[in-house]
Symmetry: C2
Subunit: 491 residues, 2 copies
């Protein structure tokens, strides 16, 4: 079957591109660098959004909405921030079109030039801190715990669906606090929320850590991240949480009066995950036959395919299936009964494999006689014929089991592909061999980091938050090091 997907082992990159298209997740639009998220893909993103949104609200955050446009001068207010974001951005310079004099269509009206150019937000720190300035006067106004679901634009020349596009969807949390410690706690809390989401919902194990200076968010004091491993041995940064210190408060003059009336700058954080998570989800679990979706994020959790030759048979099957469907729905399990007669059962099996539906059931005339139904799980492809009577409980258990099994499989893969090395030779040979994460000593200098990147294309993904102290020697420079850091080639 496989619906003509390339094999992962032959061309992982092409396998990914084809899978995204064939499973109806997304496609490139005619607008350079922008993607269209198709209904099936979007329904997975909606499930991610719902779960994350609940986690944000459970930790005390509320949603709000800030403008799409950032005045050019705002970007410049934080020195590192403008360095990081001015390079690739969409710039609005005019606010009107007019009919071309030669009748050839519409042209930009030169009389409608903006006094100050507007940047389509690449991220919203500047616009939001400029607003917070008016919202925060006293310690009573703090903490401010706000999240925004939005689209952002970062001009990209080389794009890949979900992984790197000019426009993408994300959420960005922006919080303001009275003390440094509170802001750090918030940063770490949201890192943990992301890690929990990745592991519990996406069934994707992640390493939590801190970025080195060179990989830090422009304008942050510290960037925390979660890093996942894809099946081709490359790492993917799946979410970041930034401790901003007082940088943006200073840039936008956001001060608060404490209980004693003393004025001080506010402490800030920001944190975000994006539709990039869709790319991570696809690459973490799927196989040569198509998507493998964790049940918690699958738009259709169960599909039932009837096997019939005529309407009479279909009616008899439908009677049994209606009852099963009703019971599954009562348990909040989403189920689809595909009765189309335009496609064969075999075609449907392949189709739902491609779409990653976790559980597939098939039922035909012989099953009706025996009171049975066939149940197949997408992750292991195991099939089993079970009694119709117990099938609802069976499916319920199976969904839980699949969620757990996918996670364990990914965890096992990651564990087998995280390698401690002590020499640069070993470092390079692991990267060129099985790939994956490499735990190695590093001397802590940006120079060494850069050299290693140049020579091996591996970057420091993070300094793991739980890395034990261990004295050793930098694999590159031989200089002393206090702990191992996590290297990988990455998306």
């Amino acid at each position: 079957m496989g619906k003509g997907l390339p094999k992962r082992s032959e061309d992982y990159s092409q396998w990914y591109n084809e899978l995204v298209k064939k499973a109806d997740l997304a496609e490139h639009s005619a607008v350079r660098g922008c993607m269209v998220i198709k209904p099936y893909g979007f329904s997975i993103w909606e499930k991610m959004q719902a779960a994350l949104d609940k986690m944000f609200k459970d930790t005390g955050h509320t949603n709000a909405y800030f403008p799409l446009f950032v005045p050019k001068s705002y970007l410049s207010k934080e020195a590192d921030h403008v360095e990081g974001f001015a390079k690739e951005c969409a710039v609005v310079t005019h606010y009107r079109l007019k009919n071309a004099e030669d009748g050839s269509g519409v042209v930009v009206d030169p009389d409608a030039k903006l006094e100050e150019e507007l940047i389509v937000r690449p991220t919203s720190e500047t616009v939001i801190w400029n607003t917070y300035k008016n919202w925060i006067q006293s310690y009573r106004d703090l903490p401010l715990l706000i999240n925004q679901w939005a689209n952002v634009v970062r001009w990209e020349m080389r794009t890949r669906l979900f992984l790197r596009t000019a426009e993408f969807l994300w959420q960005e949390g922006h919080t303001a606090h009275a003390t440094k410690q509170e802001a750090i706690d918030e940063t770490v809390q949201m890192l943990n929320v992301y890690a929990e989401f990745a592991e519990k919902h996406m069934a994707m194990p992640v390493y939590k850590g801190v970025k080195t200076e060179s990989e830090r968010f422009p304008g942050a004091i510290d960037t925390y991240c979660i890093e996942a491993l894809m099946q081709d041995g490359k790492a993917l940064q799946a979410g970041t949480s930034h401790f901003l210190g007082q940088n943006f408060a200073r840039a936008f003059d956001v001060k608060f009066a404490d209980k004693e009336g003393k004025l001080d700058l506010v402490w800030g954080t920001s944190w975000g995950v994006s539709t990039r998570l869709m790319g991570a989800l696809i690459m973490a679990h799927s196989d040569d036959d198509g998507l493998v979706l964790p049940p918690k994020l699958a738009p259709i959790q169960v599909v039932i395919v009837p096997i019939f030759k005529n309407e009479e048979q279909l009616n008899a099957i439908t009677e049994v299936v209606d009852k099963i469907q009703a019971e599954l729905k009562a348990l909040n399990i989403s189920v689809k009964f595909d009765t189309r007669d335009t496609n064969s059962p075999g075609w449907k099996f392949a189709e739902y494999e491609l779409k990653g539906v976790p559980v597939r059931m098939a039922i035909g005339p012989r099953d009706l006689e025996n009171g049975t139904i066939e149940v197949a799980r997408r992750d292991t492809k195991e099939k089993e014929v079970v009694a119709v009577d117990g099938v609802v409980k069976k499916v319920q258990d199976l969904l839980e089991d699949i969620q757990e099994n996918i996670y364990k499989k990914a965890l096992h893969y990651r564990e087998s592909n995280t390698t401690k090395v002590d020499t640069y030779e070993e470092f390079k040979s692991v990267l060129d061999g099985k790939g994956g994460f490499v735990l190695a000593h590093w001397d802590g200098t940006p120079e060494t980091e850069e050299k290693i990147k140049e020579e091996t294309k591996a970057t420091i993904r993070c300094i793991p938050v739980d890395a034990p102290e261990e004295s050793g020697k930098c694999v590159y420079s031989g200089k002393p090091s206090g702990r191992r850091v996590l290297f990988a080639r990455a998306y």
Copy 2:
């Protein structure tokens, strides 16, 4: 009380502006024409979104996401469409900034000029039909029933929060069908969905009708709309549903093969409501003391204010309130217990009146002795002391009653302010007097429509879908007319 709001009778417009700000719904941002939707306002919008999204899904639609940018040439492909939307739009001309040579900040990099300008979407018909072209080959691909939640930009010089802003949030449905009738049915279905949402959730009665040619969506064959009446006697268009005919299919060459293999152009619809509904909601029900929210859209449905002098009293009150809160939450009623000692009960009463919380309870030491609690409803301001034992049922009934009462009040207001007139004198005197909707005969010509608009500022809001045939004479020209149409001054 009233938190210093202007009275509606004195300055309706100022009352609205102040209310939006003081109730923490939204504010103008420093970015010209764009608003910030604050957490409290956004949580009302989220409730609207959730209810609408469910209605869309229940009628077979799925969500997807299309690019923010529209290439300039796309806009030109449908002649009326470009006329309607090219005038006020945000134009992206460059994709990079660079450091100014004089060190003064960043400037647009002239080397990074786009070959073709991109328009920030004012609406997405063109981008979506350009995509549908690839999605539709055969009748089997139809109908295509897709919705998108998105931000859009229409450059506006004179803005008002929620009612008219350069950027706003909305949903836009875009469907494609094999037959004309199916597309018309879809257009009408979505009009009915909007009307049901307005009446059942917003508690806001609406007239359903068809726009005249001059008020039609640029590119549509017919525009259906719902029109609501605000408390100042002005109408507000609250949602539109467009029958596009084959216009966009023709512009983007979207054809399908029918069962016999014959190629034909696809039929289309589009329909949308926006954050403008927030403005309608506020103006339809609120009073001089603040917001009046229908319980179905209130972020906080019940607030409980303890009246206490010391911690001991608060503890005793809390014990009783905890039980009430738990029971209310079990019924999915959102409740807030405001135990702050930094503000007096009186201050809190005014605050929650301002915020439109439908039910307020207050409980003090004397209530504890008597086993009672005070229950006040926001809409009528009636207060009642009831037994704690029955209060949960009481609140549940009250919420339903408030939802219904607000609707009835608005309906009564609208009925009293919809006037049939037969002469132009009457027409003008009603408009200048009590205002509201005026049902009058019109000769069906754009010339008369335009004259009436010039002379009275009243526009034809719609030709009501249920307007009975009735022969009469146009109030302006005296020419024959077959039915009355609905006039009003409008937002």
